[in-house]
Each structure stands twice: as structure tokens, then as C-alpha cells.
């Protein structure tokens, strides 16, 4: 039971990590961070500011998802989540083409 639970944690952790990391490479947040740090010459303060912002937006995202999950039926939720994931796929394809 315990090992099964931790396995789930690391599976969810690594799949979330991989997809979001790959999606963010060369994205506007990364570009903004490097532009500000190049101009300011204090890269660590810029990094701290960016990291705090990313933690806040992720926390908000997960909380919204958790809140929605408790209000929708499992079937509706699956459909809704699938549509969101396809929407992200579309955004990524748009990034690749442009």
C-alpha cells in the first residue's frame, strides 16, 4: 500500500515535470528571465523573483484544478481535462510553426 502510493507520487511528479519542462523550453517566461537578468547584472535576484512568481502561478493552477475536480462528475472532469490537454497541444504546435 505504502510503496504503491509513493510510486504514484513519483509517476505523477515525473510526468508533470517532463511535460511542463519540455513545453517551457525557449518559452516567453524563460526569454523574459534571461532578458531582465542580462540587463540588470543581478541574475540571482531576477531568478528569485521569477521562481517566486512560478511557484505562485503553479499553486494557483493546482488549486483551481483541485477545486474544479470536486465540483464536476468524474466523466465531465475527464472530458474537460482532455480538452484542456488538447488545447495545450494546440498551443505548442502553434509555437513550433510560428
Amino acid at each position: 500500500m505504502n510503496t504503491e502510493k509513493s510510486w504514484t507520487f513519483w509517476t505523477v511528479f515525473s510526468s508533470t515535470f517532463l511535460t511542463i519542462f519540455l513545453a517551457e523550453m525557449g518559452d516567453k517566461t524563460q526569454l523574459a528571465t534571461l532578458l531582465i537578468s542580462a540587463e540588470s547584472q543581478s541574475p540571482w535576484i531576477v531568478f528569485a523573483g521569477a521562481a517566486t512568481a512560478l511557484i505562485s502561478t503553479s499553486l494557483l493552477g493546482v488549486l483551481i484544478g483541485y477545486w474544479l475536480a470536486r465540483r464536476l462528475s468524474p466523466k465531465t472532469l475527464d472530458l474537460f481535462v482532455a480538452l484542456l490537454l488538447l488545447f495545450i497541444t494546440g498551443l505548442l504546435i502553434n509555437d513550433i510553426i510560428s
Binding site: 534571461l34 493546482v62 495545450i88 497541444t89 505548442l92
Partner: protein, 93 residues
């Protein structure tokens, strides 16, 4: 500590990320997963590492890494997760 610079970075990145695909991904994965905490930690690790690379690599990152290829892999990953939710039976066969 230069709080003005800290604030500028925070506000810029915060506004850029609100409603962006990584936050949408956090909403989708956080809602569908039975472990929202794992989604949160996976998400912030990825985002922090990506912005860390942005800071240390400066403008050269796009030249070093084939970002379009990485994005394409991510797109396939998200599409597969969506298909698995729409047709859960496929996994059993």
C-alpha cells in the same frame, strides 16, 4: 537585496504565466490526478529549472537546444494524456 528588481522580475513572470500553457497544464493535471501535491512539485521543479537555465545560459539557449523538437515531444505527451482520458479502455487492450 534589490527589492525593486525582485519585484520587477516577479510581476513580469507572474503576468506572463497567468493563463499560459503551464498553468493550464497545472489546472488539468491537478484536477485529474489523485496526487495534486505531486503535480504541484513536478510543475514548480520544471518551471524553476527552465528559468534557471534561462538565467545561466542567457541568450544562447535557443542555439544550444533544439527547442522546437522539445516542444514537439511535449505536444505529443499532452496529446497522449488527453487520449488516455478520452478512451481509458485503450490501455487495457
Amino acid at each position: 537585496m534589490d527589492w525593486q528588481l525582485f519585484g520587477l522580475s516577479f510581476v513580469t513572470v507572474f503576468l506572463a504565466e497567468i493563463g499560459d500553457k503551464s498553468q493550464i497544464a497545472a489546472i488539468a493535471l491537478g484536477g485529474s490526478s489523485n496526487s495534486p501535491r505531486a503535480v504541484f512539485f513536478g510543475s514548480i521543479t520544471a518551471l524553476i529549472l527552465a528559468s534557471f537555465l534561462g538565467v545561466i545560459a542567457g541568450g544562447s539557449i535557443a542555439q544550444i537546444l533544439p527547442t522546437k523538437v522539445l516542444k514537439a515531444i511535449a505536444a505529443i505527451g499532452f496529446a497522449l494524456m488527453a487520449l488516455r482520458l478520452l478512451w481509458p479502455d485503450l490501455e487495457e487492450n
